[in-house]
Subunit: 209 residues, 8 copies
């Protein structure tokens, strides 16, 4: 009944059997089915059972679409700080794409080398929604927030060590951002950010919802 | 240069003199100036100096607009759990209105009496953006998230005691929400939620930004 | 001397030898012996030594009863949010049954799809005691608390990630619940909730204790 | 519609005007109205406006009953560790009484002088429900839990200093209790414990609910 | 130069080679050498190299004494709550014995079955020093503290789960104990408690130190 | 029945009336009565009612002794880091003196100027028990622990700011001390340290207890 | 004996009498005496007693110098994010000046308006040492760290609310900074940062220390 | 463009392929390339591909220098408390050496045996910068801070257990140090301390930067 929304499976802790059974059941009533947090081995075995499912090894997602429909105009910019934040950013990208959004990946633009960010600023400023993934101290979200007038969804990642406390450091940074227009999802929750971005784009371009 | 964005002053800890000086300065180059976290006494004295400034006693905001322009279509639904969360919700509402958004206040619909929420569900489901403010355990955000397909911005409030730890309880609830499409701002940050809502609406209805 | 109360062994960290020795010793003076947190491999070996012990693979419990006595009237409703909370809910169910209580399992009724909860509301409202197990943000306890007039025992589970902090999120939610009649046990403590439910039912229906 | 349940007002942060307006409104449709966390000064002024309201200075509660109905059989034992935990224990007692329960107060029986607890053990063991309030390290709940076969509701209080962290110490103690049959409410939440006790007694003695 | 004090090696993280080298070096200038936190496999290999070293499999200690001297009068009572706290209690016992103290082990006397504690109270009350090891909520330290007039050293153990947070719960309990005469060492620090007990006894019975 | 132990009143939160009533009652059956955490104003009014009570303005203690008996041999060294830790150290000193112990105060010997500590090392090393009070990072306890072979009781104080978190910093330091023979009491708990010191001395010098 | 180092008094919690007594005593043996955390009222009264003491109302410092000596070459850049961080930055500046350092204040250059920072980048890059004070999420330290090759000392301030937790947010940000060359002092510890900056400059330019 | 600064790779979580590709790329434009947190097995394989790379097994670093240039005058003293802190200290040493600094290692001088520290005090006091690595309670930083007038960079290590909470204890100690001139880096961040030391020395001895 939520037309055009992907149906999503939280893969963590599910067995292969559980995964493909849910997949098969959801395919019947939905146009798009997405599973997150699926490791490569399980993915392989689901793919043997369920036809036309695509696995993204970085994002660790399984995606099935009844048919590749048209994309919404505009795009989601997925900005990420370091190479280690890459999988979380990919999960966000795949999720937004499952909605029918275009995405632009702008990776490895952490604040330690801020000129790389400025090189790509135009592309970020012209996005419909901006997703920012960053670990360690997560300062990238504030910097982007200060430069961009679009809705920004920040994802703290658990990358770091010591007083990082499993992502707490980046989470607090993003919640306390002195820049405006930034809202936050759970640590490592690429899916949540991609979903919120998808909802914003869907609500922007779609009539009658 | 960020046209149509209100300029905002963080009033907490500022003296009356600082407040009206910044106010006067910002009025020159901006169409809308908003100050948050201003207590009644200070507000009174700013109003004596700066013409046409409106004080909202609940939201504790001072707002000045060069002229009352047209509103964007649609509206932001501001949903709040208990009477104590009211000031935070009002701060969000005033901030969204400073952007030129319409707002619908749907207050006192906490999950302890969930039928009150269902009575108003239509109005929430048809909003462009939904802001949810809740303290104590903050479960309202998850319930609304499960019922609504619009972008949802959740504000944990510091209302509560004991193991609430100054709003930590509601904050963690909202970050861990099992419902999709929910992103979160800082504890008691009505301003931040209203601002994000404003940005989403502005980006939806305005051409060429 | 606590007649009718099951004697319980905390299986975690105990060796197979310790487990069956305690089992054999407790069988002599008690009518019901329950061991919790026993993995399948150990359970198997205990069953080879101790006769008539039943292993519940989901709950990870070993249960021995001298004889299957009559059940108390009424029942404990065991409500649980997601499939991952299932083992904890089962531990609660088995423990209540060890007391001689009937149980009704109402699983997979998390707040993200609240209509599933409403479909089963009658069965929950007519229980003698309600146990609610939920992870992530644990909002289910508040929603049930608002709809039910029976004693409610809430179990936060450790299901989740990131700012969930090993179940802390759901624990705080449940302690701060704005709904009345909810009391809380330790994270993942299905045993404790089932035991409290058993005590309430025993005290309700049994004469002279 | 929840017949026989007191309607309750959370007094903290409410003005005198708000308090008596809610009081007057709730009196119309309910038989019992209870307000908690009301200080003496406000109470005084509410009493001037609303007839027949009783203020309990220790519990800081305002209670109105349409008529003094019959009490349920049995009683709630309210056990408390130190004199400083007294107000929280009183809040629990008043709340249980608002339900129509009898109460037995067993105060100042902390574990530092455990013989005082043993002197009163019979009265605790024969209660229908036991409420235990304790601050500092909250060990009393575990000791009572080990000696009593009745449902036990534990209230951690915020009494203490230093590594007590506002009641966290007693809260963790009670959640981790090695004794069975203990469930826990929020720090200082005498109301919640009294309410849960009331629900258990009501469900035990009342027909057809 | 600290005559009569055992020299101690912290075994955790040390290789076998490091262990026996330090052992051999320390044997030359000391009468007693103790290594803690040594697993069975490493112990075995150290014993092959260093003569006359005794391994205690429960305490995970290696102990060498130049000669078995006379013991001090009196004894240290080592009290422990559950079977899981046993290794920590043993580490305390072995350390006190390394000092030349007698020890009395009083194990499995947790507060859930408090009569077992009372059965052995005399032996505890007549000790020179009492060490109490307890996990989960650690209430045993307070109960013993209320019944005994001797110096009490409490060891929180990391036994437990959920809101136990790796021993934090028992640690806070013991620090906030309402009983007097209790001081506390680090979580699982059986060594520290045994050492403090040894120092107290040495200072009591030895002349001229 | 605990002969020779002072009876103690926790003054915090008690009214003047409560204080002197308890004082009068305890005087009848005890030889020594001590009240801690009593502010000057209340102390003044208690002294008007109860004869022969001495107030220590720094320690904030009220002490009554039936008669000034003989002191135990030896002494407790009370070592403290900064002038701000002084009141906590005094509370420890007064408590030990209430037991009949001699005390030596060695104040203002923090590790930032370690030579001051070395100047007084002899006096510390020859004490029967050493109490160390330190705030901020609390390193003094470790340094003393490394230099002294006597039982050491460490008191973290709440002196400091920022990441001191109300004494947490010094508490963790002392619990994790790499020096041996150090046990710890609650933050600011001068009383607890003085009591433990008193118990150790009493058990050392007194026959037949 | 530490020639050229200012002697420093921690003013917090000290009485006026204590302050000027210490001041007078320290003046005799030192060339520079600095007191921090002194409020205006106390400062006023100290100035009446001690000649030639200068009070800085923003930094809340009292400074006395025997004579205004020559300054070291170069300078400390004091960079600060928002107007609220100003007092902490001033404390750092005054402390560095007490050492004989020149200072350049670069204030109100938070990352929300990053162009203001770039406008002043030259002045920051050419400093000998850079001190960065920032509250809320503290991202400024990382941005400066990425742009500057000088030693950077970061001060988290307690400015903020909600999930800022008294400066914890900025503290964790700075400790986890992905930029190099950044070390951190305690929350609000302007003094500590100024002192470290002073030591670095003194060691750079002074011969023979 | 930051001439003379080593380029650094964060090895943790990188594959062998990623490591040597980055290494080869960075070698082209830099004179010094350093990789941290590389385990022995990966290091071995990188060394097979990239010529002239040196692996330090203790520090877990890979270092390549175009040519062994001249060293700066003076030295960095690397002070460390226990043998377990050794790898972190080595990481700091290797990083400082990558800058061209001389280093003096002063290891195993923890405060439990403070005389070993005093034996080496001269060497520490004459360093240009002092790095102090310590785990458990981290008191060494304060002791060194009190004895030395040079810039001190403190590294808390995660060595310890129980209430050490993964290095939190040492981190808080160092942030709250009562000694002056101490600034702090993240837990186990030997690299960060070595880098800051390198920057201080480079800025001291190099002209025109
Ligand atoms: N209530 C608020 N909570 C968080 N940030 C705020 C709030 N009000 C204003 N701000 C932010 O504070 C900035 C202004 O800070 P200031 O220059 O100190 O007045 C604005 O640009 C907003 O981004
Ligand atoms: N899953 C569980 N969680 C918490 N406590 C438990 C659990 N299972 C058993 N227990 C408690 O552990 C006690 C037995 O512990 P033990 O003697 O170590 O087997 C029982 O009396 C129960 O109170
Ligand atoms: N189990 C333990 N817990 C805490 N400290 C210990 C333990 N065992 C030994 N130690 C301390 O560690 C020191 C030796 O450390 P190390 O030089 O690393 O072997 C001894 O002097 C003891 O103070
Ligand atoms: N051990 C370490 N701890 C913290 N940061 C490091 C460490 N090693 C390298 N770095 C930083 O990580 C950056 C490189 O990250 P990457 O591009 O992921 O290799 C370097 O510029 C350093 O600032
Ligand atoms: Mg923005
Ligand atoms: Mg939704
Ligand atoms: Mg209810
Ligand atoms: Mg029980
Ligand atoms: Mg005692
Ligand atoms: Mg010692
Ligand atoms: Mg830098
Ligand atoms: Mg120094």
């Amino acid at each position: 009944k939520r037309k055009g929304f992907p149906e999503v499976i939280f893969g963590e802790g599910k067995t292969v059997d559980q995964l493909y059974e849910i997949f098969l059941r959801l395919k019947e009533k939905n146009d798009t089915v997405l599973a997150t947090r699926v490791d490569a081995e399980k993915a392989d075995r689901v793919q043997q059972t369920v036809a036309d499912v695509q696995y993204n090894r970085d994002a660790r997602t399984l995606l099935w679409k009844r048919q590749e429909g048209p994309r919404y105009p505009g795009y989601v910019a997925i900005v990420c700080a370091g190479t280690s934040d890459f999988p979380v950013a990919e999960e966000a990208a795949v999720t937004a794409e499952a909605f029918g959004c275009n995405t632009e990946r702008i990776y490895d633009v952490g604040v330690a080398g801020i000129h790389r960010l400025f090189d790509q600023l135009d592309k970020i400023q012209q996005a419909d929604v901006v997703v920012v993934a960053a670990g360690m101290e997560g300062a990238l979200a504030s910097v982007v927030g200060g430069l961009v007038s679009r809705p920004i969804i920040a994802i703290p990642t658990s990358i770091g060590y010591g007083a990082n406390f499993g992502g707490l450091s980046a989470l607090l940074t993003m919640l306390n951002s002195c820049s405006t227009g930034v809202s936050v999802v759970n640590i490592d929750n690429g899916f949540g950010a991609g979903y919120s971005a998808g909802v914003i784009i869907k609500n922007k371009y779609e009539k009658g919802i």
